[in-house]
């Protein structure tokens, strides 16, 4: 019986191919964008995990040499003899691949990856001539060496025995030592054995996957938004299909199909079709992800220094999640229709209900639901902290706006109808109101897409303005350079001082302050800092107090994470506290930074010297040439202000390239939703338009009015989207950015951009409505007459 029912239900789609196209494409688009984003995120996360596993990052304390020092074989032997259970690692680059040399005999037993692979190689007697890497990376090698393939090795990395890697890299010393978590109870202090070495604790290291979490969450949020927009098409099509099949279902019930069988059949049918759409969606998602991945990889490398694989793999985790989300989304979309079937009396009138004019009470209900979502969003923000709560607020705002949209449109149309003074326009406004229920889902999708575009573009453009101003402040010197040793640093300082050239030496080290891993800077306070840096908050004369060594400057990220603000005391080391004199905006990195004057820094870290310099000059090119000639600094270590700014801006633009691409895709999906709604509704329009045609309006006039209606509704949506988008931008700038990156950005408005976006949306609606309107114009009079013959 179920087969008979399924066949009958499916026959509807055969007679309405456009509807099944809309349904399948809705599921496909929703799944594609979601699974595409998930594929990118997963690929990145797998790369982070592989890198952490390959390097042992975040698992072990590491011993590293201090500035300008090295770890020699003798140091290693001395440490082992003193009871330190350490394992040497050689790290270098060959053929653009990072090479890691490890010693399998001394590696901690918990270093599973390296142990498993290196020990297996020992078994093959090929340890000293084999590098372990993945197939893609192996292709990059031009050096003649054997490979053992392991897809778990991070991209652009290869691991081998230390002796092999030293030979390949042509180096003798050791880069760092892995400290075994289990150490003898008694052992000499490190500084006694090797004072030129220092130990980095796990907590001092930056966890790349934690740093990039916010970036991936942003991508997921966009994926979810696109999924929601796609789901609007699905919901709209399912709604229409159910309405059109109401009579069919009644007939089936009257002929003996039980309610249970009908529900099972409908669910099976819709899920079966959803699965087909989902499979198409996953394929499309794979293609989208493949196109976006290189940009995402570049962004992650530029912004966080994270290497991710540039090639996409078909991993079950993301395609299964795509399939599950498609099924759940469709399930959600059909649940209300299934509920209607359970309430469908066998003898109910066959007249469609969902698409007729809904009463004022329905709109009042929508406004109430909208207010409830706003309250839920507010509660979420007040009660919970973190990025998820921020996104919940965003979601609640968008849903509230979408739910309120039909009520807003109905109100506008009622006002317009009230002021219309000709029968034609009176009919037009009333007829437009009648179309609202059928079009509302597509219009909601357009609202979401346009609002998201306004919100995100406001955020990005505000960020850009702030970032440019930040670069002007931070990159005031005309030349930047980095020295490689203490002698160079001294020579450069002398060279510049002798010529009376203003320069800004910069000392830095990574440390932990107030339980946060931070970068501590020692700076020489001068006019450049005083004239260019703008503080978010500061005590009186902050530069003077910092210059006297009586205060520090911190970046916003540090202040927010530690909840320490201007005037609060910060422990620089266990016995030394200083107040915060100023908080500076820092949009170049997500890390916390603390700034002290150079003298204080020198006292805290006497062995460190300035390795980076900013130089003020009117003739950067000439000075650059002189420095290269006289000091012997490599030309690649010097960069002028213009190049550095353009590089920084390039990183910035690339960061939001994926966001822009997803923005455009979402707008595209929304336009498609309008097209599908108009096309699927077109057949139902004929009985509504036939009387108007019979009364004297030409088909051409009716078609043009249909086109005008679509443009007008899109215009209303754009008007409604602007405040929605601006609220969205405010949340992005003041809630999401703060949670994700630790900085708050000022909000700027860009009316011309909104106007352009509005124009795009209206054009999209115009293009979407053109085909249905043309179809209407070309409808033969015989079809219009059928309405009166009651043969439809």
């Amino acid at each position: 019986m179920i087969v008979s029912c399924l066949f009958t239900l499916l026959s509807h789609w055969y007679k309405n191919p456009l509807q099944i196209f809309a349904y399948l494409s809705g599921v496909t688009l929703a799944t594609a964008l979601w699974s595409g984003v998930q594929a990118i995120n997963l690929e990145a996360k797998v790369s982070y995990k592989a890198a952490a596993q390959t390097l042992g990052e975040g698992q072990y304390d590491l011993i590293r040499p201090k500035q300008d020092e090295i770890i020699s074989l003798a140091d290693y032997v001395k440490l082992r003899k003193s009871g330190w259970l350490v394992s040497p690692v050689v790290d270098g680059s060959l053929d653009n691949v990072r090479l890691l040399g490890m010693d399998p005999l001394t590696l901690p037993s918990s270093f599973l990856f390296a142990n498993a692979n290196l020990n297996n190689s020992i078994g093959d007697n090929s340890l000293f001539e084999t590098l372990i890497t993945n197939k893609n990376t192996a292709k990059k090698f031009t050096t003649n060496v054997k490979f053992l393939f392991d897809q778990n090795v991070a991209p652009d990395m290869a691991v081998g025995d230390i002796s092999l890697v030293q030979k390949l890299l042509n180096k003798d010393n050791i880069n760092y030592l892995i400290v075994n978590p289990i150490q003898p109870l008694e052992q000499k202090e490190l500084k006694e054995i090797a004072p030129h070495l220092t130990i980095n604790n796990i907590e001092q290291m930056t966890d790349i996957s934690q740093l990039t979490d916010s970036f991936h969450l942003n991508l997921s949020a966009f994926g979810l938004l696109s999924f929601a927009v796609g789901l609007f098409i699905v919901h709209s099509t399912i709604g229409l299909a159910f309405e059109q099949r109401r009579a069919m279902m009644r007939s089936m019930r009257s002929m003996g199909v039980s309610l249970r069988t009908l529900i099972i059949s409908v669910t099976t049918e819709m899920m079966f079709l959803a699965m087909i759409g989902a499979v198409f969606g996953i394929v499309l998602g794979y293609l989208v992800a493949g196109l976006l991945l290189p940009d995402v990889a570049a962004t992650l490398r530029g912004l966080y220094g994270a290497n991710i694989s540039g090639t996409l793999q078909l991993r079950p985790d993301w395609w299964l999640s795509g399939l599950v989300v498609a099924v759940l989304g469709t399930g959600l979309a059909i649940s209300s229709q299934i509920w209607q079937i359970t309430k469908l009396p066998i003898l109910a009138s066959a007249k469609p209900r969902a698409w007729m004019v809904v009463g004022t009470s329905h709109f009042t209900l929508q406004i109430k639901v909208s207010v409830i979502f706003l309250i839920l969003g507010a509660i979420c923000t007040i009660m919970f902290d973190g990025l998820i709560a921020g996104f919940a607020l965003l979601g609640a705002l968008l849903i509230a706006a979408a739910v309120a949209l039909p009520a807003f449109l109905a109100w506008c149309l009622r006002r317009l109808q009230k002021y219309s003074n000709t029968p034609l326009w009176n009919w037009f406004w009333a007829d437009t109101r009648q179309q609202l229920p059928g079009l509302s889902l597509a219009l909601m999708a357009l609202l979401l897409a346009v609002s998201a575009n306004i919100g995100v573009s406001t955020m990005v453009s505000s960020f850009r303005l702030t970032f440019v101003s930040f670069l002007d402040q931070r990159l005031a010197p005309e030349l930047f350079l980095q020295v490689t040793n203490k002698a160079q640093s001294y020579d450069l300082s002398t060279f510049l001082s002798e010529r009376g050239i203003e320069f800004l030496p910069l000392m830095s080290t990574e440390t932990v302050i107030s339980k946060q891993p931070v970068e501590l800077f020692g700076i020489k306070i001068g006019d450049t800092y005083r004239e260019n840096w703008r503080f978010l908050d500061a005590l009186e004369n902050p530069w003077d107090t910092v210059h006297l060594g009586k205060a520090i400057i911190v970046n916003e990220q540090f202040a927010r994470r530690t909840n320490l603000w201007v005037g609060d005391q910060v422990s620089i080391n266990p016995n030394f506290w200083l107040p915060i004199a100023a908080i500076v905006g820092d949009y170049g990195n997500p890390k916390g930074q603390v700034i002290v004057n150079e003298k204080l820094f020198g006292n805290l870290y006497p062995q460190l010297y300035p390795a980076r310099f900013g130089i003020r000059t009117d003739n950067p090119a000439e000075l650059q040439a002189q420095i290269i000639n006289k000091i012997g600094i490599d030309k690649n270590s010097i960069i002028d202000q213009k190049s550095l700014k353009s590089f920084s801006m390039e990183v910035f633009e690339r960061t939001f390239l994926v966001t822009s691409a997803l923005n455009i895709l979402t707008l595209g999906v929304a336009s498609f939703a309008i097209l599908m709604s108009l096309l699927t509704l077109a057949d139902r329009r004929i009985p509504q338009l036939s009387p108007v045609w019979a009364l004297g309006l030409t088909r051409s006039q009716i078609g043009k009015l249909e086109l005008f209606r679509a443009v007008l509704l899109a215009l209303f949506v754009v008007v409604f989207s602007i405040p929605t988008g601006l609220v969205l931008a405010w949340v992005l700038l003041n809630v999401i950015n703060v949670k994700a990156f630790g900085w708050q950005l000022p909000m700027f408005l860009f009316p011309i951009e909104y106007l352009k976006l509005g124009l795009y949306a209206v054009c999209a609606a115009f293009l979407s409505a053109t085909w249905p309107s043309l179809r209407l114009i070309k409808t033969p009079p015989s079809d219009l007459l059928k309405v009166f013959a009651s043969e439809r």
Partner: protein, 218 residues
């Protein structure tokens, strides 16, 4: 006995309160027997037909179809009775627009299992639908659609055939032809028939005529 309705009461809730429609109605129908049910508009004819067709339950009273008491059954049980024992012909035909004539005719019979193709051919031929099997309902005239509805009902081999104004939408000539063919096939299959009609002529062709007045049978 194919149909046994005893002391049926039915009322509907309206804005004006509860309005009684059927008041202590009892009726029996034997195999091969034909009954015409007449009455003014709103007299409860269709309601009685729907109760007999297991589409609605009475407020009070018992409904037995082929010896099975409906009030004790759930939706699935009543659906099974509709599927196997009853067929209904509606004034609006209620064909499934996305199925062609052949699939529409076979639909109800298919729900209960394999169909007797010889029988289908015979009924289709008797109703003059042989050349229309591949067409969709929208391409048929009203008379043709009603013939398809009759064929669909008879192919299902019901014990009880219920028809609600089956010729109400047809012109005189078509109505006469459709009725002739329906009665002929009903007689051949010894199907019990209850027909709701306003037409005296149609009613005169039945074994019995009953009239609903004030919610009671006269």
């Amino acid at each position: 006995m194919v149909l046994n309705l005893q002391s049926i009461h039915k009322s509907y809730l309206t804005n004006e309160g509860r309005v009684p429609v059927l008041n202590d109605v009892s009726l029996t129908l034997l195999e091969g027997e034909t009954i015409a049910l007449r009455g003014e508009s709103g007299s409860g004819k269709s309601t009685l037909l729907h109760i007999a067709g297991a589409l609605e339950l009475p407020d009070e009273g018992s409904v037995e179809i082929g010896g099975k008491e409906l009030s004790k059954m759930d939706d699935t049980g009543r659906a099974a009775v509709r599927r196997k024992d009853i067929a209904i012909i509606f004034q609006q035909y209620n064909l499934i627009p996305s199925l062609n004539v052949a699939a529409n005719i076979n639909f109800q019979a298919n729900l209960s299992g394999p169909i007797d193709k010889m029988k289908v051919t015979k009924i289709v031929s008797a109703l003059g639908l042989s050349g229309q099997m591949g067409k969709y309902p929208e391409a048929l005239s009203g008379g043709q659609q009603q013939r398809v509805a009759i064929a669909r009902a008879l192919v299902a081999e019901p014990k009880l055939l219920l028809a609600d104004e089956p010729t109400g939408n047809l012109d005189e000539q078509s109505a006469k032809s459709v009725l002739e063919q329906m009665l002929k096939l009903v007689a051949e299959t010894k199907t019990a028939l209850m027909i709701v009609t306003h037409s005296r002529d149609v009613a005169a062709r039945m074994d019995k005529q009953l009239k609903l007045l004030g919610g009671r049978l006269r």
